[in-house]
């Protein structure tokens, strides 16, 4: 009885690492990677370059690496070795220039904030101006019978 329990325990200990390694593989997938890398010939992300022959080759290559249980970072490193840094679609991935990576995200955000602020400021000013001068788009009331004459003229040209 004791021997059987020991044998079962030993078998379990042997099986555990194999089960864990099977669970860790694959570590990533083609779908997870193809929106983060470029198709260098197509000039778009690999995800968008559906039919281009170079994109098909690139996908097959990524799938080969995924099947070999490479991680996402390892796949990206392999692509960089083949195509250079420009194959990485996300600016933060390109490494080397940390300030540049931050600025790539910060400058457009700052631009959007400034534009939104500018539009909000202009709208507030325009409303204030309109309130002060009556309904927006209407000028001062016309003097004498000018208004009636204008209505008559408009009616004559009414088609």
């Amino acid at each position: 009885m004791r021997r059987a329990a020991l044998a079962a325990f030993a078998a379990l200990m042997l099986a555990l690492p194999a089960a864990a390694s099977a669970r860790d593989c694959p570590q990533t997938s083609l779908g997870d990677i193809e929106d983060e890398v470029m198709c260098p010939v197509c000039g778009t992300s690999l995800e968008l370059a559906s039919e281009a022959p170079q994109a098909q080759d690139q996908r097959a290559y990524i799938q080969e690496l995924v099947d070999k249980c490479k991680s996402k970072d390892e796949v990206k490193q392999a692509l960089v070795a083949e195509f250079g840094d420009n194959v990485l679609a996300l600016p933060g991935d390109q490494g080397g220039n940390d300030l540049g990576d931050v600025l790539v995200y910060a400058i457009p955000a700052l631009g959007i904030l400034l534009a939104a602020g500018g539009i909000a400021f202009a709208v507030v000013r325009w409303r204030r101006h309109a309130r002060a001068g009556g309904r927006p788009g209407t000028g001062p009331a016309m003097a004498g019978g000018e208004g009636a004459r204008l209505d008559d003229d408009m009616e004559r040209y009414d088609l």
Binding site: P40, V41, P53, Q54, Q56, D57, Q58, Y61, E82, F83, G84, D85, N86, A115, I119, A122, V123, R125, W126, H129, A130, G133, P136, G137, G139, P140
Partner: protein
């Protein structure tokens, strides 16, 4: 009497103008350099750009300057490109034909997977030197915009002819043969 303009249409116009400017900038940036073609059309030969690239087999770098004094048929190709497959046997024949006349073909594999490129080379039994332009720096220098493209470089390192598309026997006879005779 001045009417206050609503800021919304102004903002929309600004955004549209910015988009059109961005589009125009993108179009201008993506235009390939055609200085070589223009020079050739005027009967002039431009000096070939300096080109230093790693050899495809990983055995160090090679430079175009290494071949100065020879006629170089510089062929840009990729393994997935069908016309590249069609012209490869012709290029290999011409490489053999030029060997003892001071000429050679040099291949540049562009933006391609090394394993696929090596299979291509093996399939067609190509023996000429092969370089790897992994990030497209070489093709930018030569204004390459399609696959394949071939530049014929004379013994002084000047571009004597260009073919944007696959080469054929007629092009090689007309563009390469006269340069080989002047050895």
């Amino acid at each position: 009497m001045r009417r206050a303009l609503s800021p919304v249409p102004i903002a929309v116009i600004c955004v549209l103008v910015a988009l059109v400017a961005l589009l125009a900038y993108g179009l201008v940036q993506n235009q390939p350099d055609r200085a070589v073609d223009e020079a050739l059309a005027h009967g002039e030969r431009e000096q070939a750009p300096e080109l230093v690239l790693p050899r495809l087999d990983g055995s160090g770098d090679a430079s175009l300057a290494d071949y100065r004094g020879k006629v170089v048929v510089l062929n840009f190709w990729a393994s997935w490109c069908k016309p590249c497959k069609d012209e490869s046997p012709l290029l290999e024949r011409w490489h053999q034909r030029m060997a003892d006349r001071g000429g050679l073909v040099v291949g540049v594999d562009m933006l391609d997977l090394t394993g696929r490129a090596q299979s291509f080379i093996d399939e067609f039994g190509l023996t000429y030197p092969m370089l790897k332009d992994k990030d497209g720096k070489g093709l930018e220098k030569f204004g390459v915009a399609q696959y394949p493209e071939t530049f014929v470089i004379d013994r002084q390192g000047r571009i004597a002819a260009v073919r944007r598309g696959p080469v054929d026997e007629q092009f090689m006879r007309k563009a390469v043969e006269p340069l080989l005779e002047r050895s």
